[in-house]
Structure formats: C-alpha cells, structure tokens
Symmetry: C2
Subunit: 167 residues, 2 copies
C-alpha cells in the first residue's frame, strides 16, 4: 500500500470482524515499531502480545475506553524502559505510531488506548501482566480487521497551526 495513502487514511478502528490476524502480520507490525527512531538509539520499548480471549476480555475491563478489546483479534501492550525521565515517552510514542501505520498498510484496524502517565490505568496492567519494576505500561493497541471503513471523513489540516520563519 502507498505510504502517503497509509498516513492519510489511518484512523482509530474500534469495531472488528472475526477474521484472524496472521502471526506473520503481527511480526511485521512489531518490526515496524522497533524500527522507530529513539534518542541515542536506546530503543527503550518492550511489547506484550495478547492473543488469548480470556485475557483480551480482562484488559477490556481494565481500561476505561478499552471495551473493544473483548472482541478484538489481539492487543499489544507497548511498555517503556523508564529508567530516566528523558525521552522514553516520545520514543515509545514513535514506536506505537509505526505499529498503527504498519497495521493500516496491512489492512488491519487499530486504536491507541493511552495508559501512561495515568497511574490508575497503569496499575492493573502492571499486575495483570507481571510487568517488572523499571518498566512502565505505556499504551494498549487493540487490533483486528475493520468492521468499519478506514476512509470515513476525519480530521482536517489546520493551516492556522503552520507558522513561517517565526511564530
């Protein structure tokens, strides 16, 4: 799929069909995530792939906007190696965005459910997934083939947000 079309037609997809997502496509999405840029090339990310239905139902109840996970084909929990404040948040966000774009390129729908910096959202994920100290649950990405169109009208470019040479 064309890269610019991928960038322009990615949107949050919250309804999925029952079509399985192939393991090879999951690996492609994770590869894209891990090829994101990071400060000093530290690559401070980790991923938990959730496929089991009972566990998907559990995470659906652990996030205030995560109910779609119960019917999804999988979820990927992006975690950050948060040893220092610095850049790990931005690095994990770039990896998450790459993951969403690879999904779109493969025809797979996704939605980014924020965890960090909300402690009340992160705590149940830490417990459910046995996440060690020093690792922070950053975001949950829920994935599946879309039961709604990618191409629906969405956000628009706002020229007022573009400044020339100075503010």
């Amino acid at each position: 799929m064309d890269a610019l079309e991928t960038l322009f037609t990615r949107r949050s997809i919250r309804k999925y069909t029952e079509q399985p997502v192939a393991d090879a496509d999951v690996e492609t999405m994770l590869r894209a995530a891990m090829l994101a840029p990071s400060a000093n090339n530290r690559q401070p990310w980790q991923f938990i792939v959730v496929r089991e239905r009972e566990r998907l139902k559990a995470v659906a109840g652990m996030h205030p906007y995560g109910e779609m996970a119960a019917q999804a084909q999988l979820a990927i929990i992006v975690c950050g190696e948060a040893a220092e404040p610095g850049y790990w948040i931005q690095d994990c966000a770039a990896a998450t965005e790459n993951l969403l774009l690879a999904a779109r390129a493969l025809g797979i729908g996704s939605v980014w459910c924020g965890l960090h910096p909300r402690e009340e959202r992160k705590t149940p994920f830490k417990e459910c997934f046995n996440i060690p100290d020093g690792i922070e649950p950053f975001a949950m990405v829920v994935l599946g083939y879309p039961a709604q169109p990618f191409s629906e009208a969405g956000k628009r470019v706002q020229p007022a947000k573009i400044h020339r040479e100075r503010w």
Copy 2:
C-alpha cells in the same frame, strides 16, 4: 512508495544535497503530521517552517546536535500546546514520526533533534522564534534530499523485546 518499505528504510539523514524541497512536499509532510492520532483528538501541535538560510544557520548553533541544519533545505520546529501534563508529548511524538515517514516516502531525508524536556535546549528556541507562553518547543526536524543512502544497515529487530500473553 510502499508503506512497509517506508517504515523499514527510514533512518536519520544528516547530510543533504543542495536540491530544493518543493513547497508542495512541505505541505504534504505537515499534512501527514497533522493526521497523527492524539488523545481525545486534541491535536495539540503547532509547526514553524524555517527556510531562510540565516535562520537555519542560527538554529544549527542552538542545538548541540543540530549543526546539519546550516546546510539543510529546511527545518520544522514541532511545538506542543502544553496546557496540561497529560498526553501532549506522545501526541507531538506521533506527529513528528508521521512527518519523518512522509519525508521518507517523498525521498527526503530527515533527522529528529530532541528539544523537550531539556530546558537548556528549549529556551533559545523560544526566544529565537518568539514562541508564546503555554507552547513548548518539542523537537526540531531537519530536512533535505539525502547525500547518504537510506538503505544502510541500521537497527535490527530484537526478539527478546517481545513477550507473549504476559511478561
């Protein structure tokens, strides 16, 4: 250009030719950036496009790893509407990553120079660009047609960073 190839071959490009970057391509990159996902669709980003040679030379001296800006065709300063702590950092990172990927798709090289959260880096940008209170300089993206290959061997996927069902 193919979306997955774009994701897999984006890398930091720090040497540029003198080939101009068309205004239409700058708009395409900004459009891609503004179509990134954001928490509650707040779109908390702003962009300053820097084309003037004297100003590019100035920013080259304002960032410890920004010297390539002096010879670049342009730089884009990504800024965040930082009214609340929340998600603006991740939202701006997703927009920045979209910008880098759109550049790669157009054959344009880019490098992401971090500003936030380092106050000593942000202060000269705030002053140089007259950035108002409540807006934070987030990152400088330096851009130009590459004088080095995109395809050089880079990072690799690390299977140890992938966990199944739980940590």
